[in-house]
Subunit: 636 residues, 2 copies
């Protein structure tokens, strides 16, 4: 964590200096007339975007919410490893790790063949495979996760806070202007202003307003999909039980009473149960059945026999019959029309599905983490607005994959067990499918197709396990300046900057004339270097592209005095040297990053990483022209 | 981290529910007339005690400070591994780890034999030896550390905050009463109340008011010791330099210009330099020399030749000539008098020494961490007031060792280098001594003598590396209920509770009739069990003594249903089962706690740990009578 770059400032380093131009958010301050970005909805998608944009006080961001405050309980609770990697970039992964439940193992229970009325443990699966991520898979009350984002926003230079109690009535786009062409009509839902309506003009609007999104409806989007015809109940409870695996994630299939999922939660006592209730008629909604919390508790007790649950407090519960659905596009540009988008949707506003694979909150945040840096680039004038066309394309593909996988998983979960499974002669299909899905449910299977943002795989072999289009998979390194063991991926922050990691060849210890030296010097001084071309006068040399290097020697075999100046740049108001750009292999047994990520030991390579942590390109250390043209396709 | 034990409560789990009896701390609220404990001084010693006492709202605690607010910069900055282990118990170690500088390596520089005017690196030492602690040695601005304690206090049930702007004028003890016998006269130093004086009566007073302590003076204490006759400068600076090790801790000896210490600090840019200035005459004070910050910068530049330092901002600086000194006793009971103490001193109020071994802040906090739980026990009526006599005894021994070690270290640091050292034919004495001192400087050499608090070593061989009298050295385990990899030591919180860790013998998987089962059942039900005897009606079964077990099997080889009820106790308002009492060996290569801590694999053992994390006793699993009599010597 770096701070004091512009001089000493006491206190909590997470509270950034406030920007002078920030909006006054005191009581009874009027809504602004114009903003750069208006976000509708303070769920995970909206907050993740707001938290990212709030770091840029030069961008006017507004986030509205129809509810009068943050939620207190309920809703989603699963955070996969990929999302945790993103939280690391926002700076609150450590806090989340400390106070949440970690899903280390998933246990599977099925009818005991000797006594099918009783359940029996049939298997366990390590939930996060070794080296699939440096992060745990965790479970946390969604409300608390919102708080962590709200805190980031409030501590940001723009001191961003939501405007609660306003809902979107309508969104219109004026295609004839580029000056705040989107008009949003908002209505006071809580009556503080006598249910008044207000209009706000924006350059961009992002609808994170859920499955009934008014933003989506305004731009003509529709959710298409299938209903589930199956009622489920979900409850967060404080309860005692003799069921021995209650502090592990469990998938439980009974012989005749249906299925239950157990998800232990933060704090060591509370847990969530998803309980299968009745099948529904094709035209029926779960709500019509008027299930109560007692129905759910009774069903759970029937399913987990011979064990029982004694509920002390029902914290939250809900009955649902969510199927899966998706919109045709995630922005306001219809198929075949050639213009840049102005309105976007994200999260449940454009894809819904069953909550039981724990994906919803994750995919929603990943939607806006994909959009965030693109909006920043365009609003900062660093990239052409056409960059925003890639959002719908990239995320729609992922959403489709999510809905398909979810659909399959739902079928596997509801399928009755077979004789062979119950006898133990065959590994149950649910366990096999669960294992096959692990990379997907961890959020680490996402792969963006080749595009202007994702280079061709010509040189992929130089970093065989850092696949272009997939997330940059972190690995252990040691920071040379202070010999600190750390994760290379943790060098990245949610700051909309690109990163180039240069992995040095075996013989290269940054001796004069080495490949690393040449690359660094070219990047720093050559007129065709993307660093030179895309960094503005007066900006820090790493303001847009952050160059770092990783060596194969251990920290004590490298001499700081031999490093090229781009690896010890002077930045900030005081021009202080940045000592956190240079890394080397770990010398204490945590693993060798070159081996772990398939880096060519002889030749080394460059790995270009997008601001949202996805690998954009792999190039040889002397791939100057390719690097230059790659960035020219994105940045001005 | 456990919460929701008494029912769900949203929001930040670090903010505890406020106690109804807490003092109103609004503006212009008068000072209380009577308190249980009055702490003078909001330095590390005072805040560490206040943070601990604040968790007990039934104890009226007041903490005063003569300054008008917390400091912003300067003073101490070293936190050793032992203190970090204590921070873990307070719950903020993760936060500290994230935002601080980690001392991984210490580099040694000496005159280059080829060119003695220039310095040259002669060695490096890994600063925290493998498995000396699970915690890093870190450096942080003292002011920020204060903030972290202040936050703990403010979030505690008593919502404790300091009363700033009051200084102690005098402390008197009335030996004829037990009802708030200590009268403290306070003076308003900031003039808010026209420099008024007020008196507060207290049951106990703790002087953490620094080297010029008014509390110490009031009880007739005096600091005895030697002056240093050597001026040193210290500065926290933002600076550029070509000195390659500026982000490592460095001890630099020049041929003729004196010595420098470099201590990199939080945030990646700032660092501290201790710079040796002139020798002083026997009667001279450093302040008389009128050194300036420019003198210090010039001296530093002379010492580190051929390198130079270009200072951009001096954040804080000071000139000092601290020697070392100590008082005869740390409480108000003179040698030979037989009564229980009422007034204590801690930290600089009773021992001062050079800052260069980075011990001061640590030893000060360890003083009050030793005192804190004893005060809690006595004020809760769980222990006789004579328990408080052990404070001065235990900490005086440690303070003496500190002053001696510091004295030796200062001599080694100032000694000129020898020919053999410079030629590399002999390892420099400074490096040898540094290595020898590592356990001490890490804070892990503390060993309390046998006493009523620290049992005899009869059964020490059962846990050969968990030495009685030394801090409980944590090791990796897996929590059985959720298969989470963690540190056993992190089960302990700063909650004034005792812990018994029962290590099971090889064959013992908590099968009926096993040693673990017998011990647990005896502890839970036998009239002579310390749990039964010392826990009050209506209290949780683990309110005073927290019993936990560690097995040699891996988590998947143990059945929760076979565990004795004391290992899955029902506690809190809702009587919810606690699933965090049972551990087993790590199955993922982090190390085997039985091997690492020398636990007898066949017989197992019990390790009794004090509330301040020191090993109090090692006993066989059937050492019922010994356990009973040990606790009878302390608890009522």
């Amino acid at each position: 964590m770096q701070f004091y770059k512009n001089g000493f400032r006491g206190g909590n380093p997470d509270i950034k200096p406030a920007a002078p131009n920030r909006r006054n958010r005191g009581i009874n301050e009027p809504l602004p007339e114009k903003v750069d970005v208006l976000i509708a909805g303070t769920g995970p998608a909206g907050l993740c975007l707001a938290a990212q944009l709030s770091q840029f006080p030069e961008i006017d961001t507004m986030i509205i919410e129809r509810m009068p405050s943050n939620i207190i309980k309920g809703k989603a609770d699963g955070i996969n490893t990929r999302t945790m990697e993103m939280f690391q970039a926002f700076g609150f992964a450590d806090k989340v790790k400390r106070e949440t439940y970690w899903v280390n193992q998933t246990a599977f229970w099925m009818p005991d063949p000797k006594n099918p009325e009783h359940i029996k443990r049939v298997g366990r699966v390590q939930d996060v495979a070794d080296d699939s991520s440096e992060m745990p898979h965790i479970l946390i009350n969604q409300a608390r996760m919102h708080e962590l984002f709200l805190e980031i926003m409030k501590n940001s230079p723009s001191r961003l806070e939501p405007d609660y109690g306003w809902e979107v009535v309508n969104v219109t786009v004026d295609p004839t202007t580029d000056d705040h062409p989107v008009t949003v009509t908002l209505k006071d839902v809580t009556g503080v202003y006598w249910w008044a309506t207000r209009t706000v003009r924006a350059n961009y609007v992002v609808g994170c307003d859920g499955a009934r999104s008014a933003v989506r409806t305004s731009i003509g989007g529709q959710l298409h999909g299938d209903a589930a015809h199956q009622a489920w109940g979900v409850m967060d409870i404080l309860a005692n039980t003799d069921f021995p695996d209650v502090r592990q994630k469990c998938l439980i299939s009974s012989a005749k009473e249906g299925n239950v999922l157990i998800l232990p939660r933060e704090g060591g006592y509370i847990f969530r149960m998803y309980v299968e209730l009745d099948k529904l008629r094709p035209d029926e909604k779960a709500a019509e059945r008027k299930f109560t919390q007692d129905d759910m508790i009774a069903a759970a007790n029937r399913i987990i026999k011979p064990y029982t649950i004694d509920v002390k407090e029902v914290v939250w519960w809900s009955i649902y019959d969510i199927g899966h659905s998706i919109t045709d596009r995630f922005d306001d540009v219809p198929e075949g029309e050639d213009r840049d988008p102005r309105v976007f949707t994200a999260g449940d506003a454009c894809h819904t599905h069953s909550p039981k694979a724990g994906q919803g909150m994750n995919v929603s945040m990943q939607d806006t983490f994909n959009l965030g840096w693109k909006l920043v680039h365009v609003l900062q004038g660093r990239a052409d607005a056409s960059l925003l066309r890639t959002y719908s394309k990239e995320r729609l593909t992922e959403a489709k994959r999510l809905v398909e996988t979810d659909h399959k998983w739902a079928r596997v979960m509801s399928a009755p067990t077979t004789e062979a499974e119950r006898n133990g002669t065959e590994e149950p299909r649910i366990i096999r499918t669960f294992k096959e899905n692990l990379e997907f449910t961890g959020g680490n299977a996402v792969k963006y197709d080749p595009s202007r943002l994702t280079g061709a795989g010509t040189h992929q072999a130089l970093a065989s396990k850092l696949e272009i289009g997939r997330r940059f998979h972190s690995a252990p390194v040691v920071r040379v300046s202070d010999a600190k063991q750390m994760q290379l991926g943790h060098a990245a922050e949610a700051d909309a900057r690109w990163r180039i990691y240069a992995f040095a060849g075996k013989a290269d210890s940054s001796n004069a004339g080495s490949a690393i030296h040449k690359l660094a010097d070219w990047l720093e001084t050559n007129p065709s270097s993307p660093v030179v071309k895309h960094t503005r006068e007066g900006e820090d040399i790493d303001a847009v592209i952050d160059f770092r290097a990783v060596f194969q020697q251990t920290f004590d075999q490298l001499a700081y005095e031999n490093l090229p100046s781009l690896l010890k740049p002077k930045t900030g108001k005081l021009g202080l040297i940045d000592f956190e750009k240079v890394f080397c292999v770990d010398h204490k047994g945590a693993g060798d990053i070159f081996d772990m990520r398939g880096i060519d030991r002889d030749r080394g390579c460059m790995v270009v990483v997008r601001p949202d942590q996805y690998v954009a390109h792999v190039l040889p250390l002397d791939g100057f022209a390719d690097l230059s043209s790659f960035f020219a396709g994105i940045l001005r």
